[in-house]
Symmetry: C2
Subunit: 242 residues, 2 copies
């Protein structure tokens, strides 16, 4: 079974939601049969690289609130994070373009290190004093995740690298009806929006697992040469399909 | 879009079918949006590790044919392979248990090197004088595919490593109605059996691509904290789900 999770590094509910999903997954009997894929979604796609600002200021501006009110919003998220055992700093966090992080997450996916890099990026952004909008930090995170430093540098140096993959993920989120993140899709059959409690994820996994065997495939193509389950690879007559 | 391919290293039509699929994929306009995953299927699951025999002898015994007739069957496959530009040796190939190769292909999947290892294993088995039933050769192939030698050795030394993944793939093939390989599944919607001509794969990809946007997801869970597409992460009232 496959779970796809659309998220953004800059999204606190994605950080909290990932922990809740993983808690639900840990209690799921068939967890070893679940493959998780992370997909890209930018909350602020119009923001240029290098254009960073303090999160508190961005929040205050976006909602027309005082900085104190913005701090209270952050404190609410922090409470939810702490309940999941996650550290969360409410001050000093940067807001900026996450496009390059998403490109690196696609490199990490190709190298089997995506979940590692995502966890490190969340931790850097939400729990540590490290700006994920700084190329030097991104290189460090990539190397910590097990990526090759030169490959990370090459992707950062080429703005086109994995750019289409990021945009394809975002287009797909839109096609699937996601209007926010985190957005969880189970076997392209069930959609779960937001940082739900872990029990909701567990129930969804159980539902999707129960349904997966009943998928009826539509067959394409006539008979063609194959090796049967009994090991037989014989082709009785000259292959019709050649 | 995701394409899953069930196959066995010992299956000549899987070797040929992979090349035909890739030829179809290369002509597909949206090929960059296609993710390919290889899944395990053993043609001879009852065979013990170390119990190897010459393919010609196994074929002759299985079909009650003479070795000359078995050679003619192999020559037929070789002709199909050559038509795809693939080398194929009809003599001296071993038959044996492919369980360990499948376990290594799962390690390679986790490290983003699955396609590389599968190509190398096919080449070793069908085109080169290297027995994929020899642990030393498997270690070489793993390292050539970009895996860490110690990780490959650790998987080979522990018969339980990735064993459940191999069995889960095989169970899933059965649930999806596959009774032979290669078996191609597009977005869990279309099934294609056998080493079809590349045009069949191209048409199937086009059909599956056309259909992918219309998937309607079933929503699970009530409203929960999320960051909206406009960047808003505000939670108006204390989160109901906590």
């Amino acid at each position: 079974m496959r779970v796809e999770i659309w998220s953004d590094i800059a999204c606190p509910w994605c950080y909290v939601g990932k922990a809740r999903f993983e808690k639900g997954l840990a209690e799921f009997a068939h967890r070893d049969g679940v493959e998780v894929v992370h997909r890209s979604f930018e909350l602020d796609p119009g923001r240029a690289k290098g254009d960073t600002a303090q999160v508190i200021d961005v929040l205050a501006q976006k909602y027309g609130r005082t900085r104190e009110e913005a701090r209270a919003m952050e404190a609410n998220v922090a409470g939810n994070a702490h309940a999941e055992g996650l550290a969360y700093r409410t001050e000093g966090r940067d807001h900026g373009s996450t496009f390059d992080i998403h490109r690196l997450l696609h490199l990490a996916k190709a190298r089997g290190r995506q979940d590692e890099l995502l966890d490190l990026a969340y931790r850097a952004n939400f729990a540590e004093e490290r700006s994920v909008f700084d190329d030097g930090v991104l290189v460090e995170l990539g190397v910590e995740a097990g990526l090759d430093r030169d490959e990370v540098l090459a992707v950062l140096a080429d703005p086109g690298a994995y750019a289409d993959d990021v945009r394809a993920d975002e287009r797909e989120a839109s096609e699937l009806g996601a209007n926010g993140v985190p957005f969880f899709v189970l076997d392209r059959r069930y959609g779960i929006s937001g940082g739900q409690p872990s029990e909701v994820f567990l129930k969804a996994l159980e539902q999707a697992w129960k349904d997966r065997a009943v998928t009826a495939l539509t067959t394409i193509g006539d008979d063609a040469a194959a090796c049967d389950a009994d090991g037989s690879c014989e082709v009785p007559q000259p292959e019709a399909s050649v």
